[in-house]
């Protein structure tokens, strides 16, 4: 029986949260090791486990994967959340590749949006306020209208190929993250509201949204302090 994936990161969202979401949505149990001290981090580096000296690190299928996007893409493919496989379905290459490239485009966009929130946590208070306000504005004007239109144009339940994918999971994560900053952010987006309700109720996601799951809380001062201490910046 395959070992569970093991995640190495801080006890907080940061760059690991999208990976936790993907695993949870796929119904995959995973273990976590939390970085709390500089010594733990230096040991990981000394043991040669961090290719570029950075976390996230995910141990899976005999590999030690770093780089958030590399990890996300591998997991999405492994758990059939990356579109239709041409070999399986006999789809033409163009049809199936159009699915995976759309998923990539949408996932890249929501990841960009969420990374702004991740980075904002480490800014001085005034800059942080400004950054987070900018995230809300961008979500309302640049990102969410696009996804509302995608859902409107095809009238389907999910973003790509009428099939639940990595793009949907990340969009939900982004919606919830921005709602934490401004609860009214979906007021002009009725289809995104329905999308949110629908995906919230997918059993694996519903479970992940319960208290006591491995979902992490928004960054607070303690989290920022630990990260600064471990990474020494």
């Amino acid at each position: 029986m395959a070992a569970k994936p093991k995640l190495w990161y801080f006890r907080g969202r940061g760059r690991m949260e999208s990976i936790r979401w993907l695993l949870a949505a796929a119904g995959v149990e995973f273990e976590e090791e939390f970085l709390e001290t500089r010594e733990q981090y230096e040991k990981l580096q000394k043991d040669g486990r961090l290719l570029f000296g950075q976390v996230p690190l995910v141990e899976i299928d005999g590999m030690e994967l770093t780089q958030t996007r590399a990890i996300l893409s591998y997991l999405a493919t492994k758990y059939n959340l990356h579109g239709k496989d041409p070999k399986e379905t006999g789809f033409s290459w163009i049809e199936s590749s159009c699915c995976f490239v759309r998923i990539d485009m949408y996932a890249e966009d929501t990841l960009d949006l969420m990374m702004m929130v991740v980075v904002a946590a480490f800014k001085p208070p005034e800059e942080k306020e400004e950054s987070l306000a900018s995230v809300v504005k961008k979500a309302k004007t640049q990102h969410f209208p696009v996804f509302e239109k995608i859902l409107k144009d095809h009238g389907e339940d999910f973003l790509v190929g009428n099939k639940f994918s990595w793009a949907d999971i990340q969009l939900l994560e982004a919606i919830l993250m921005v709602e934490e900053l401004d609860a009214s952010v979906l007021s002009d987006f009725p289809l995104l509201k329905e999308f949110k309700t629908r995906t919230n109720n997918i059993p694996t996601i519903k479970k992940f949204l319960q208290p006591g799951s491995q979902r992490k809380l928004p960054p607070d001062n303690h989290y920022v302090k630990v990260v600064r201490n471990v990474l020494q910046f």
């Binding site: 290719l51 958030t68 990890i71 995976f100 490239v101 990539d104 485009m105 890249e108 966009d109 640049q142």
Partner: protein, 223 residues
């Protein structure tokens, strides 16, 4: 017959250059439509060509693709530069992301305020010689093969070699202690399609100079 891919960007490296390298290395001819004025960018936005209001945008196979990584992954898959299976792809992705992290630091250097520039350059050089180049040298040493993954040319090799040229532009001595990387650079540069791309007169773009920087700031409305 399918039309050639068409690249929409300004006439400079920026975030499109790695896409130009990949297409060129794959031996794929491509067209370019240069954004020369802010109004050109506005027009693309207004006619719905830019899904998230951003370039790069590449018209290919009836699609208007945006997001650099999505475009690169599509091109790499189409032209068999993405490994033979999921695990190889994971390694290729990991290496490509590392290249992109250092590459972004170098790419954004012209936008650094003058009083911070020396410190930034020092930081980039330090990361290059202590973190990134040793990591890639170690990968090549570990298997002794000609390419980073699966003994076959992949997007990871092309991105890395492109980066090595930028490192060399910054400071040629940075490559001194990395014989295997030097070997990779020579090997990939001698592939016919890459050799052609490295000739003067190709679609490869020169480093950013003051004039080009002003042009980019004007087009993208950066202060």
């Amino acid at each position: 017959m399918a039309g050639k891919p068409k690249l929409h960007y300004f006439n400079g490296r920026g975030r499109m250059e790695c896409i130009r390298w990949l297409l060129a290395a794959a031996g794929v001819e491509f067209e370019e439509k240069f954004i020369e004025q802010p109004e050109d960018l506005d027009k693309l936005k207004n006619d719905g060509s830019l899904m998230f209001q951003q370039v790069p945008m590449v018209e290919i196979d009836g699609m208007k693709l945006v997001q650099t990584r999505a475009i690169l992954n599509y091109v790499a898959t189409k032209y068999n530069l993405y490994g033979k299976d999921m695990k190889e792809r994971a390694l290729i992705d990991m290496y490509s992301e590392g290249v992109a992290d250092l590459g972004d630091m170098i790419m954004l250097l012209p936008l650094c305020p003058p009083d911070q520039k020396d410190a930034k350059i020092a930081q980039i050089k330090e990361k290059t010689t202590n973190c990134y180049l040793p990591a890639f040298e170690k990968v090549l040493k570990s298997h002794g093969q000609d390419y980073l993954v699966g003994n076959k040319l992949s997007k990871a090799d092309i991105h890395l070699v492109e980066l090595l040229y930028y490192v060399e532009e910054l400071d040629p001595s940075l490559l001194a202690n990395f014989p295997l990387l030097k070997g990779l650079k020579t090997r990939v540069s001698n592939l016919p399609a890459v050799k052609k791309f490295l000739q003067p007169g190709s679609q490869r773009k020169p480093p950013m100079d003051e004039k080009k920087l002003e042009e980019a700031k004007r087009i993208f409305r950066i202060k």
